[in-house]
């Protein structure tokens, strides 16, 4: 496995690039107070809409706030939202799908129809509705993202479980008298989790994008929180001052692409069906 990972780094430059970019953003997020030259919410009316300069690397926004500092702090929210959403949606989806697939019959039918109901809505619209009804703050936005994201995991998990549960070792456990819960947690989930993991890594980038989209639409945490999506939407008013929307946009882009590169690389590594010959 480690050898495979080493090979992956060497042979898959995109994966390496993704890792570098993401580690960069993680470090920035953790050490934001040290790295950022200014307070991200401190206003200065005299310095508003200044072009990028040495004092303000990314320029300043409508309130004279330093965009560089805001972009660095903004990484915290995007990373948190991306990782937490995938984690929570993944856990919920895994158990839900595993139960539906393993129990089967009517339970399966009801459970999957329920999740398909959520899937049948356009995900962005559904997230917007949830957010608008519950009021928008960071927690509610993530909650909305989780609601929208988990059914995909449940579906995937169920389909994997359906094939796994026919295996002889599951039958063996049943014959030995293991309880259903034990079979589910000890036999089925560990053997089918791999495909969920692959999906989760590729999904992080999507969730970061989705989170930025929602906050662009004004459905993230309340201002003056330095959130990338919200910063881009602030910049729309200042179309001819590219730095206001441009740099936060670039940040979203690098983070989302980086996360996707990692996801693709990990899929190559973990998915036996797609694994390249190293």
């Amino acid at each position: 496995m480690i050898r495979a990972a080493k090979k992956l780094f060497k042979s898959n430059y995109l994966f390496t690039l993704g890792v570098v970019v993401c580690i960069f953003w993680i470090i920035m997020a953790i050490f934001a107070p040290v790295v950022a030259p200014y307070d991200p919410i401190e206003q200065n009316a005299e310095m508003r809409l200044e072009a990028p300069s040495l004092a303000h690397l990314f320029g300043t926004d409508n309130f004279g706030r330093d965009i560089f500092s805001r972009v660095i702090y903004g990484g915290r929210y995007s990373l948190l939202a991306g990782l937490l959403t995938v984690l929570i949606a993944g856990i919920i989806g895994t158990f839900y799908g595993a139960i539906a697939g393993y129990v089967g019959g009517k339970t399966d039918n009801i459970m999957m129809r329920l999740s398909e109901m959520i899937l049948s809505f356009p995900s962005l619209i559904l997230a917007m509705i949830i957010n608008a009804v519950m009021g928008s703050n960071l927690f509610n936005t993530m909650f909305a993202l989780v609601i929208v994201a988990w059914p995909t995991y449940a579906r995937l998990m169920r389909s994997v479980v359906l094939s796994i549960k026919e295996n002889e070792y599951v039958e063996a456990a049943e014959v030995l008298g293991a309880s259903r819960i034990r079979i589910l947690t000890k036999e089925i989930i560990p053997n089918s989790i791999q495909s969920v993991l692959i999906m989760a890594t590729t999904d992080i980038g999507n969730q970061i994008l989705m989170f930025s989209t929602l906050s662009f639409l004004g459905l993230g945490s309340a201002p003056p929180t330095p959130e990338w999506g919200m910063m881009v939407s602030d910049g729309v008013e200042y179309f001819n001052k590219f730095w206001v929307a441009g740099f936060p946009g670039l940040a979203i882009f690098t983070m989302a692409v980086g996360a996707n590169f990692i996801g693709d690389g990990l899929r190559d590594l973990l998915d036996p069906k797609l694994r390249k010959q190293f």
Partner: protein, 553 residues
């Protein structure tokens, strides 16, 4: 093969029927016009050839959208007022943007002793574009039609009880109650005087069942039927309006022969087309696009403030407002806001009114000085109120924007200002449609930032900010709380003489200068730009641009 043939036949049939439609309507239109005013039409033909030879006196304007009719009896939105003002005339008119309504079609006017009857005499020699002479019957028809259509602007005639026309030149308007704003209301687009003969002929009605009986809207969307300097010759909704000079205008015309109005509100497109000379007036600029045009030869920038105003509202009810319901805290907040900073953020042209009556209104005391801000005094007041270390408070803000300035921008600025005196503001975003709107109207918000656009151009619209008024109640400010301020409401509506009105409006502004649940933040700017070959382009609250004052140099 069969299918294809079928499709061809169908397409052919459609094309034929369309052509037939077009042909029909145009021929019937021209026929009716010819019947109405043969002389006018022949003159119009002459003048149009004239303008072709002199060439360039066509002015192209780009303005915002958001409306689907140009029937004066139905128009309520912002931009159509510009068109209505060019094609129709009203009894009174706002010739400048910071004065009261002055007589236009009216020669003399007089209120009765108890201010409930307004008697007007019309000027002599006013003719409609059709050639018909304007009489008192046209005035009665127009006002009654607006009232009985019960459309969006019908509220403007709410205080009009009945209209009598003792002779051709005299109009007697009986009011339901004294109304100090009636002259301003009569200057509103919905009170434009229509050519009753032409409108009736095309389905118009001023009877009580006009809401269902009147079918003139389609006609008034295709041409105008007023006495104005221009005649609308074409209106393509959400695309283009063409106004041509009324050749038989009774008054003095400007030298503009034709207006082409593009309904297109994107600021960047307007900026580009203005700089290439494709349009002459851009009505929807932004701070950003204005800065791009700065210093461009041949383009004049116009930064004026509108009467749309944003304000902080602090609920007077302690169970809702908490600490901000305390008048001392309210005054501390009023002292802590950085008005100069807010004006910078909202863009050039922004002003802060003296108190609840906007700068530019008749009777306004002007602007609040930007050095009103006094953090030490604010801190002292907070201490007096029992909050020496400040407090935490939620500031609810919705997703609306005031003339392009997001309310969240204002909220962020206020939050950072109040932090200076120790008030820790936590901004809570709520969607207007998802509860904020109802909470605001029901007076359930403790501390919020909102904006207010005026219905018609009269300071009396601001009376709603008094205790017991519509907006006052949204801040939990009942008439009982401040009876002496509340009674100024009726005092103001009862005053009709300019001097009396001015006096009571002054009293209102002084009473709310340092007291009450509202902190007026900023009057939104209206950035516009125009080609310097034009003169007389000025921002006007009621009309955006008064097209009857624009000339080509």
């Amino acid at each position: 093969m069969k299918k294809r043939l079928m499709a061809l036949v169908l397409a052919g049939a459609m094309a034929f029927s369309l052509a037939a439609c077009g042909g029909n309507s145009s021929s019937s239109d021209s026929a009716s016009e010819a019947a109405e005013s043969e002389s006018a039409e022949s003159e119009e033909a002459e003048s149009s050839t004239d303008s072709e030879s002199t060439g360039n006196n066509t002015v192209v304007i780009a303005m915002g959208s958001g409306f689907d009719t140009l029937d004066p009896g139905q128009v309520y939105e912002k931009y159509p007022q510009m068109i209505i003002n060019a094609c129709y005339e009203t009894l009174f008119k706002f010739y400048s943007n910071d004065g009261s309504a002055e007589p236009m079609l009216v020669d003399t006017y007089e209120f009765s002793e108890d201010n409930t009857v307004l008697t007007l005499t019309l000027k002599d020699g006013i003719t409609f574009a059709s050639g018909n002479t304007m009489t008192s019957a046209d005035v009665a028809f127009s006002l009654n039609r607006t009232k009985n259509l019960q459309g969006n602007p019908a509220f403007i005639t709410d205080t009009i009880d009945s209209i009598e026309t003792p002779d051709d030149k005299t109009v007697v308007i009986n009011l339901t109650q004294p109304d100090g704003a009636i002259l301003s209301k009569l200057a509103y687009s919905a009170c434009s005087i229509l050519d009753s003969a032409v409108v009736t002929e095309n389905g118009g009605s001023d009877a009580e069942d006009a809401a269902t009986a009147d079918t003139a809207q389609a006609y008034l969307d295709s041409t105008s039927a007023g006495s104005g300097m221009f005649v609308m010759t074409s209106y393509i909704p959400d695309s283009e309006i063409v106004l041509e000079k009324n050749p038989s205008y009774w008054g003095e015309s400007t030298n503009v022969d034709k207006y082409i109005i593009q309904i297109q509100d994107d600021a960047n497109t307007q900026m580009m087309t203005l700089s290439t000379g494709d349009i002459d007036i851009a009505c929807n600029m932004t701070e950003d696009t204005m800065s791009e045009l700065e210093g461009t030869d041949g383009i004049t920038l116009l930064n004026s403030s509108t009467k749309t105003v944003s304000f902080l509202m602090m609920n007077m009810d302690e169970s809702i407002g908490g600490p901000v319901s305390d008048p001392k805290v309210q005054q501390a907040i009023r002292l802590a806001v950085d008005y100069a900073g807010i004006q910078t953020i909202c863009g050039e042209g922004t002003t802060t009114p003296y108190s609840i009556i906007q700068d530019g209104f008749f009777g306004s005391l002007g602007q609040r000085s930007t050095d009103y801000t006094d953090l030490d005094a604010a801190k002292a007041l907070l201490e007096e109120a029992g909050y020496p270390d400040g407090f935490d408070v939620d500031l609810t803000v919705c997703d609306l924007a005031m003339e392009g300035i997001p309310l969240t921008d204002l909220a962020q600025k206020v939050a950072s200002d109040l932090a200076q005196i120790g008030i820790n503001v936590n901004i809570v975003s709520e969607a207007w449609a998802a509860g904020y709107g109802d909470d605001y109207r029901d007076g359930k918000l403790g501390f919020t930032v909102m904006y207010w656009g005026i219905d018609y151009n009269d300071p009396n619209v601001q009376l709603e900010f008094l205790p017991g008024g519509v907006v006052g109640l949204r801040a939990g400010w009942t008439a009982e709380m401040d009876a002496d301020i509340a009674e100024l409401y009726t005092k103001a509506t009862n005053a009709t003489e300019d001097a009396d009105r001015e006096a009571v409006l002054k009293e209102i502004q002084e009473a709310t200068y340092e007291y009450g649940p509202f902190v007026m933040l900023a009057q939104a700017p209206c950035p516009m730009a125009y080609n310097s070959r034009l003169s007389g382009v000025a921002f006007s609250d009621p009309y955006t641009v008064d097209l009857t004052q624009v000339n080509v140099q």
